[in-house]
Symmetry: C2
Subunit: 367 residues, 2 copies
């Protein structure tokens, strides 16, 4: 009980300076610019700091004064933890983290509960810039980010023209995939896609909802499909498109089931992500459908488990996307116009796609 009975206020740079009989500037310099003071004095400052339990300059106060936080913020659609569940998101984050560590910058994951309209977390984030990854274009969090006077990079979002952007040509890539299926002879297809807007709509999607989709990525992938199949003479408005709010394999499976229940004659299940496609594969197996003999299944992304399953898909460089976003943000030059980066994708023809059984004429046996 020999310790001080009164609550001692924590030491600050000022109190340390007072104790030493030097100016605050000098103490500050002891930490930040060793060359600005004599080694002896510096040692004395540091020793006294240790004795007084001064932990060094307060990072927040420093940030206020220097006007840099040493961190970039990341805004995602989903609950924070989603970032660690979705393989594509993980890849993106790894790339972003690579860029951050190169720059010695921290990475702040901003909690943005999509259920609530509460954007306080965005306002509260002490960051030098934002990366926005795949949020709906009408998300209030996105609006809040854009109001903040810091550089921003959007990824997998529409080009806003005002901030940097990185992405892929989702529409073109999906168009190519569709062309591949069409060349195999597929005309009667079904689609399972990820959520198209902030409201939950687990079921069939109207053409209108497809057009009005608030998720840039999904809208463009669907649009690429619609274009290709329309060109091939397919009436896109008759194609069953099923939406799933949650993004996991179970959704892929139930989405596939819903498509197959509606039209058992579809020869191909096109999924807008590999995760959904992997789920569709399980549903096909459950129904005793052999892939690709009885049915073709395709994905999008090029994640590892899809690769192992031999999935026909579009591979996109998720890690590079994250890294590019980080780089764009970290050398944000006020002078430059908003930049837009499109990364290349690659069509991967796996073993889950083949010509439909019986060929194109099969559709004459439809219901």
């Amino acid at each position: 009980m020999a310790r001080s009975m009164h609550v001692r206020r924590p030491a600050t740079l000022a109190s340390l300076a007072a104790e030493l009989g030097v100016s605050r500037t000098t103490v500050s310099n002891a930490y930040n610019r060793p060359d600005q003071l004599s080694p002896e004095l510096r040692r004395r400052v540091l020793d006294t700091a240790r004795r007084l339990g001064y932990p060094g300059p307060d990072p927040v106060a420093r940030s206020l004064r220097t006007r840099k936080a040493g961190a970039v913020g990341l805004l995602l659609t989903e609950n924070l933890s989603y970032a660690f569940r979705d393989p594509a998101a993980i890849g993106f984050l790894e790339g972003l983290a690579l860029a951050c560590e190169d720059a010695g910058t921290g990475l702040l994951l901003v909690p943005a509960n999509p259920e609530r309209e509460d954007v306080a977390s965005v306002h509260r984030a002490g960051v030098d810039g934002f990366v926005v990854y795949s949020v709906p274009d009408d998300d209030p969090h996105l609006a809040a980010v854009l109001e903040r006077p810091v550089p921003t990079v959007v990824c997998d979002q529409p080009d806003l023209g005002t901030v940097d952007r990185v992405g892929i040509d989702d529409r073109g890539a999906m168009y190519e995939l569709a062309k591949h299926l069409i060349s195999l002879g597929h005309r009667r297809v079904g689609v399972v896609c990820m959520r198209l807007a902030r409201d939950r709509n687990d079921g069939f999607v109207t053409a209108e909802r497809q057009h009005a989709a608030h998720f840039h990525v999904q809208r463009n992938r669907l649009s690429g499909l619609a274009e290709a199949f329309s060109e091939a003479g397919v009436d896109w408005s008759q194609v069953p498109v099923v939406e799933r709010f949650d993004h996991n394999m179970a959704s892929g499976a139930s989405g596939a089931a819903q498509v197959l229940d509606r039209d058992p004659q579809v020869t191909a299940l096109i999924c807008t992500s590999d995760v959904l496609a992997l789920g569709a594969l399980t549903e096909a197996a459950r129904r005793g459908l052999r892939v690709p003999h009885d049915i073709t299944v395709t994905g999008f992304d090029g994640i590892r488990p899809g690769e192992e399953a031999g999935l026909t898909t579009v591979r996109q460089p998720v890690l590079e996307k994250g890294r590019a976003a980080g780089k764009l943000l970290l050398d944000a030059n006020e002078r430059t116009r908003p930049r837009s980066v499109n990364l290349a994708t690659e069509l991967i023809i796996g073993k889950t796609s083949a010509a439909p059984r019986g060929g194109a004429e099969e559709r004459w046996f439809g219901p």
Copy 2:
């Protein structure tokens, strides 16, 4: 070119107050305590803010005054991006993120390059607390965190007695796994472990280095093995233990190769992580060794790919560990003593372990 020719300084709360002819307090209240001023005035404040392009109270200045940053920091051993490569780390992060989003707190990933001694990133992090995940006990970044006057939770680290801790009984769990192997008849075994210290040492490990390991988790897992096998009459000092700095499947494979080259007669390869074990499996296959008929392979962690491979391992609740760490940190009560949480593990007997071919007497045929 009608826009202002001069650079306008960004609006602040003070300039907004001046423009409106009200006090700064009132503007602050307009944002933070709407009930403290009349609705009309509040509207006027917010409208003027929009007109002047005032983005709302600066988060850093607010943090300085309120003494809360609204974020917790995470310190990891590795380069930042490692967090997104290692399955166990991903699970931990998911759990931590869950705890954070429950509390509406941000999660700041602090870049801590293990190569450099530069701990500035720790000093610069504006956070309300730290979670430290599996860093060597002599890491300067850890020391820097402990000097910061904020609550801290260490995970997979020794109990420091001064800060909260969460972990598992690595030693006991590995002891149980070893007992299982011993009961199957294994006496001649080899070990592949993760890095034991900050220096790279890809090769055999002396008993001394095992004891002095700076990674709590690895030290305890090895110690559990040593205890069990010693009790079974095995001279642990003769057991080949190979260390690998990088944690990936390739390391597991090359580590296994090194053990098998040294002693082709080992009947079991014990790996201190599933990732290493998966690599060991590939090396076994490469050599034409059938698992478990020709050789037993075991892991530790209970990650998904291991499960799919039918790996015998110890499953630990990585997600729960992260969540527990977050909870501990977020309701850090000054009054409570440092808490220590041990989570339960489960021994998983998969299909990669079996009794050694020829039984215990085989060792008589050794070199």
